[in-house]
Symmetry: C2
Subunit: 388 residues, 2 copies
């Protein structure tokens, strides 16, 4: 062991990456309102081939961003799906051109409530128009167009990312060769809505929220986070419990008690799980905008592609091939919701493969490195690529 | 149908009841601190027999009180376990003398953080000493002593009430002939602690909490509720999601949207589940003290009777007969925790019967009228009474 600093970027085959931006004039939203101008933050990995038929779009979850792999200069952690992206990995950058963009309504570079409203010269805040999962996907479609790509080889993502996958397959079936919706649903249940409701109430209860007009303007790394840190922190903690399973929390924390702070100073003893949750909340408020949290969770709750009969009718004739993945210990996006997706697609005579992965992590499992998810995705894509 | 007002008290065989109070000088708490004086609010039903061997103690959950059955004068709702109490019901008042008392640390008549500290002449607030489930049970034992009762025919309760049942059987085995712990556990898991942590953070985040020094002093019906209503309301909503199952929420609310308020006035549309949760929060803050919520949830989280080996050793030789009940859709106090109780008791050679009741209500099921719970309890008690 030496004190020499290790160049951690060498650990990623994706190396140093930069977020890029695509600007376009206007997007008509589902509500009828027009968002103008629109900026989409995105990153790419691998090379687009001459036929432009090797592009894979990855869609992020609620609090995610365009930075899906590699390192930003100076960062200590790689992107959120690093372990699935790169040469020889599931989304193999020797074969595929991988795109990931930040959704509109968010706060990591794409247009959202913390962006400047050109009509007023001030931040939109709660005057930002309501955005839907469909709006997010329509904005992504403009980005995909900008590369001259018509048909995506695949669209993949978990949780809210999986909703975008389903929306892509629903709205643009001819543009989606394969779709990989992970730990997701056609529509939120009452319980899923309820947890998001509490997150929004936690934010709005915080006097520092001030009806959305708070100081601090988080629009991506390096910008100024602020506002209702207690409320947003609590919203994140509520969310975080739902991302873990009973078993994984028990394994990680049990009833262990923390009696020293991170500097080794004695503190009033608290259960370790409390320390962990507080840390999650504190870290989150430095990297997310409270109003964006309200807008995006509302989009999640409003998402509803239709009832079973409508969906069967709509998907009938679709040539998209699906790989549906769920996780055994995911109680907030339970396997029964993934099975409902499979059931609808089977009734529609659509080509669909389903796997439930046994992992006790809970909903977060799709973001935690483990072998099986990568193998399933890699083999599914390779079968299609080889003309299976 | 006429406009005649129906005397709803006629619907309860328990009629009009009153909360009574038992005062005693002092209780030494587990912490070593002495609480003095101590008041216990309680109610009784049926008659104590001459042998004083027909008493059943019922223990309430987190937000419960001594008012377990019958009507308080003027009330529209009966006590919280009305359907189980009365002549011919599970806890048959023709046979048994039923006692229910409010736990210390609570706010419904027994000494708690909203009580006056005799040393200062002001409310204890956050200077109230920490209380444990064992302290609650020791206070109940004093009340039971005051009737001249040594051995209880049964101790029964769900959730935190079930913890008190386990504590009675642990600390006073010779005083407990039968024990009925329902939907409960020997100790909270990390997930159970986590949800309570968030409730406490929600309260403490509310500036109106003011480190416990708020206006309003809720000490039971008719007293003045106040303080951190946003924070306590949110804490209750967090709790309430955990009391229901995914299935029961879906059946009750689904994705239905509410567009009118209770007066029929149009409102910004919200999911019905949001309206329901908000209503639960608003109703709760009128009948509960925020500091008491903090103290009692902390007692729940701290409860831990010992590890499996210690418990097996401790219960070996116990003559108490147990009926352990869990509910199929209770995810916050899951059946596996009840099975762990059964396992420990079986290893200890203790007489134990276990039933899991199939009901999709979730944790709340033990408080919702349904036939099976009553039959199981009634037959269990009758078998013992007849000398089985």
């Amino acid at each position: 062991m030496t004190d020499e600093k290790k160049d951690i970027t060498k650990e990623s085959p994706n190396g140093i990456v930069e977020t890029k931006f695509y600007d376009f004039d206007a997007l008509t939203l589902e509500s009828g309102e027009v968002l103008s101008p629109v900026r989409i933050a995105y990153e790419t990995y691998g090379k687009l081939n001459a036929a432009k038929d090797n592009a894979i779009l990855l869609c992020h979850a609620l609090s995610g961003d365009a930075h899906v792999a590699g390192f930003h200069a100076g960062d200590k952690k790689p992107g959120w799906w690093e372990f699935l992206i790169g040469p020889g990995r599931a989304f193999d950058t020797d074969k595929y051109f991988v795109i990931c963009s930040n959704v509109i309504g968010s706060c990591n570079g794409s247009t959202g409530p913390a962006s400047i409203n050109p009509k007023t010269g001030k931040e939109f805040r709660m005057n930002f128009p309501a955005v839907s999962i469909r709006d997010m996907v329509n904005a992504q479609a403009k980005l995909v167009d900008s590369f001259g790509i018509f048909k995506l080889f695949s669209v993949a993502g978990g949780s809210m990312g999986g909703m975008q996958v389903l929306e892509w397959a629903y709205s643009y079936p001819e543009r989606v060769r394969t779709a990989i919706p992970i730990a997701t649903t056609f529509r939120h249940s009452a319980q899923q809505i309820a947890f998001n409701v509490l997150g929004r109430i936690a934010i709005k209860n915080d006097p520092a929220w001030n009806k959305g007009e708070y100081a601090g303007n988080y629009t991506g790394p390096g910008s100024d986070a602020g506002g209702p840190v207690d409320g947003l922190g609590l919203a994140r903690m509520i969310g975080h419990i739902t991302y873990m399973s009973d078993d994984s929390m028990e394994r990680k924390f049990g009833r262990e008690v923390k009696t020293l702070d991170s500097a080794g100073k004695p503190i009033d003893s608290v259960f370790q799980v409390e320390g962990f949750l507080r840390h999650q909340g504190e870290a989150f408020v430095k990297r997310f905008d409270a109003n964006a949290y309200i807008y995006i969770t509302q989009a999640l709750d409003n998402f509803d592609l239709g009832n079973k009969q409508e969906l069967i009718k709509h998907f009938s004739g679709s040539k998209t091939k699906f790989l549906v993945i769920s996780y055994s210990h995911d109680w907030i996006y339970p396997a029964k919701q993934s099975k409902e997706i499979v059931r609808v697609l089977k009734y529609s005579w659509v080509n669909v493969t389903y796997c439930e992965i046994a992992q006790d992590y809970g909903h977060d499992a799709f973001l935690i490195p483990h072998e099986e998810q990568g193998v399933l995705i890699s083999n599914f894509l390779e079968n299609v690529r080889k003309g299976e």
